[in-house]
Amino acid sequence: MSGLAERVHAIVDALAGDAVGDDERLAALARLLAQARGEVDLEFGVGGDEGPLARMGREWSEFRARALGELEARCWVGDGRLRTRVGWTGDLQLVLGPGVGADERASHVRSLRAQFERQARRLEVLTAVAVAARRVAGLIAGPGAAMVSALPVAFACVREAHARGEGGGVPWE
């Protein structure tokens, strides 16, 4: 995840400087930004489906609710004979059943490490969205602008930055 913030900045810089060039994905973000500014009509999908800005707003709402909720929640890692309850600040409660072997233990420790990494990544992604949203809000300010769209547009920028750095996937997994 290192470099996510820098990639997000580069994307917002490109949008701010109207320097998307022939990059299709940046152009899509620029259209989203223009819609948030109220410069172009909202696009609607086929058959009256929601448009890109509305879809991003919905996806952002879903992500925000889940990520903020999961950030602080304790969760179980593992099942069967070896389980650990993990707090997001690192507190652990391990429950060991009978007959657990060395391989199972090693595998469990790896699962825990992955869970810790996920938790840290969630916070990084949420922070990246918040920081980007401040810049996006500055870009969309003006008559006819939908300021509540700053977060969804920022979220789209973070997803794009993640895809550019990690080769796809969703940033919180």
Binding site: L71, E72, R83, T89, L92, V95, G97, L123, L151
Partner: protein
């Protein structure tokens, strides 16, 4: 949020107008929520606790008010932020369970590494939210 009150109406009820920008839907509302989450995490970073339980029947294990029920506590480690450490490992017939101690120790190491990484992420997040980039 703007609060309006009708003029000359005595006990007229207060009308609250929720600005989208100030609500959770807006950037300031979201940043405030993230700040609050980070503050709570900082409060929790004072010490790190790792508890290892043993259960004969895993199906009988559950959690009630943060406590593990249906399993016996066999090892406990508490590491304070400044490094002071308390470790409790019971012995049975003058012996400690080496296998249990091994995985408990491994978990303590994992938890400490995760805690270090979380502190780094939190400090960075707080700084970036504070300076706006």
């Amino acid at each position: 949020m703007r609060r309006l009150r009708g003029e000359g109406e005595g006990e007229a009820p207060e009308i609250v107008v929720e600005d989208a920008e100030a609500s959770e839907d807006g950037v300031p509302g979201f940043v405030a929520k993230l700040h609050a989450t980070i503050s709570r995490a900082l409060d929790d970073l004072g010490s790190l606790e790792v508890s290892t339980y043993v259960a004969a029947d895993m199906s009988a294990v559950f959690v009630e008010e943060g406590r593990v029920i249906g399993a016996g506590l066999r090892a406990y480690t508490r590491v304070a932020l400044e490094g002071d450490t308390i470790a409790c490992v019971p012995e049975q017939d003058g012996e400690v369970d080496r296998g249990l101690l091994e995985i408990h120790g491994e978990l303590v190491k994992q938890a400490q590494a995760a805690r270090c990484e979380l502190i780094r992420v939190i400090v960075e997040a707080a700084a970036r939210l504070g300076r706006g980039g």
